[in-house]
Symmetry: C2
Amino acid sequence: MTTDAQLLAALREHRNGYIAASEVMRRLGLSLAALDGRVADLRELGYQIEVKPHLGCRLLSSPDVLHADDLMARLPANRVVGRDIRVFKETTSTNDVAEKLARDGVKQGVVIFAESQTKGRGRLGRKWESPVGKGLWFSVLLRPQLLPTEATQLTVVGATALARAVQSQTDIAPDIKWPNDLLIGGRKVAGILTEMSAEVDRVNHVIIGIGLDVNQAASDFPPDVRKLATSLKLERGQPVHRGDLAAAILIELERDYARVCRGEFAALADEWESRCTTIGQHVTVLIGERRVQGRAESLDDSGALLLRTEHGRIERIIGGDVTVEKSRP
Amino acid sequence: MTTDAQLLAALREHRNGYIAASEVMRRLGLSLAALDGRVADLRELGYQIEVKPHLGCRLLSSPDVLHADDLMARLPANRVVGRDIRVFKETTSTNDVAEKLARDGVKQGVVIFAESQTKGRGRLGRKWESPVGKGLWFSVLLRPQLLPTEATQLTVVGATALARAVQSQTDIAPDIKWPNDLLIGGRKVAGILTEMSAEVDRVNHVIIGIGLDVNQAASDFPPDVRKLATSLKLERGQPVHRGDLAAAILIELERDYARVCRGEFAALADEWESRCTTIGQHVTVLIGERRVQGRAESLDDSGALLLRTEHGRIERIIGGDVTVEKSRP
């Protein structure tokens, strides 16, 4: 952990009071002059840090920027997800950066954030808008011991972890729309793009890309998108601190990824189903040119959606565009 | 088509006789001086071209080098496979080069050859020996409209096409060992590494990597490999022209890929089964740490192997290490 990260971690431990400067100096192995230097640097980044002669130091507020050290300081020590975090001011697509790192042999768990993406991608090659500082656009590189057919499990990991973190930070419980969207009041607030590189019978790596609309105002969305999309700020009525939210998401991703790695996907699928508004609905799925209609029954153990068609047959759906039918006798 | 490719194509059309210099000049739009220049350049590359004052030109022999123009000149006009061909003297791995081109948005059908690879790869991350000029080491980039679960079909394409081309060029019919090896007399002569990049429900691209041992002498193989591996030269007793063989393989790949794209995988699977020595045998499959035993019955329509276990149950196998049991009551 860097000195900045250690200092922020120490300040956060004493968030409701002061931590003595001598204690910080001891824990970080810093002289008073060096501590002053670190504090000055963090203030420059927008951290409000109070230093009082007899009381010590206190973190008053953190800026709404993504700071790799600060994010890492909030994560558990022996984590996989967020083992390393890199924040880009701008990049083409965080999935592309993660893909490049994967091919360079980088270990699993690295997370790539960007303040904005010039070529953000959604599923099926669709464009994903990612304006500067308004949301969380990031990708997690994983190397699970799964078959390619089981990679759908990681889309489920992404959706459940993201929903849980959003709920803990905003008190809003988003709905999951199969396979990869988070909705609030029927409007899309987040999408997940899971990409894999694989041999026919072995996954080389999986990248979970997440786009979450956090602090957009209504006017930040193009007019045609506004009816379909929303942000956490719009739903909650006040801005959400992106750093707090990002840390919470990474912690939840760690938890759910560990469950999949331990072979406990069934428990995760149960949680997913309880959050998923698609289950129990009559839906139409468009797979390329093919249209399948039926009642969404449940997830199977590879993360595919089981649809009971009108002929009573169960059809296993691994992807496609899902439309929920509004009314049905 | 480049001028070199056109010239070689014209010479090959008249392989058993001469083509008039005036005819070549007309077809290629060249002056006599320009034609002399092209002939001199090709001779420099090792092509033996005879030019006789009254008879015209004749191709006596082609060098055993891989020449992109020459390969393209032998392929059908509206092909997908070999639409573009690039030959490297040395590269890390042709699959890696193809992967990079795929991410740069290059169209399907490009083929990457290398005279040698410094980091040739086989399945499951194993090293693949690829000594200079002794074999065919190449990769084909494809963008099929398949689900990730159907990508196994392309391993079947690779194996059937390769077996047919080897047979037409050497009169030796190699056996296919599921899922990706070609054997002659029980020794491995070729391997196929099929890699894909995919979303959970959509293939972005597939790379079929082929390594074929052509002109190795016994002493070219490391001692521990020699018992398990062979080359076409060793089996046939004389060298095989790599350019002729490469062109034949690309033509067969084109044919089988077209069959898959037309949804005619079943016909391909029948041919595959007739060449596959694994079918009908009692085999042991090692999938990670799991061991499955049974009788290999057939391929299913996604290219997976159907194994009848000792309890009579059919198990669907998409990968793993297969050992054929030598004797069985």
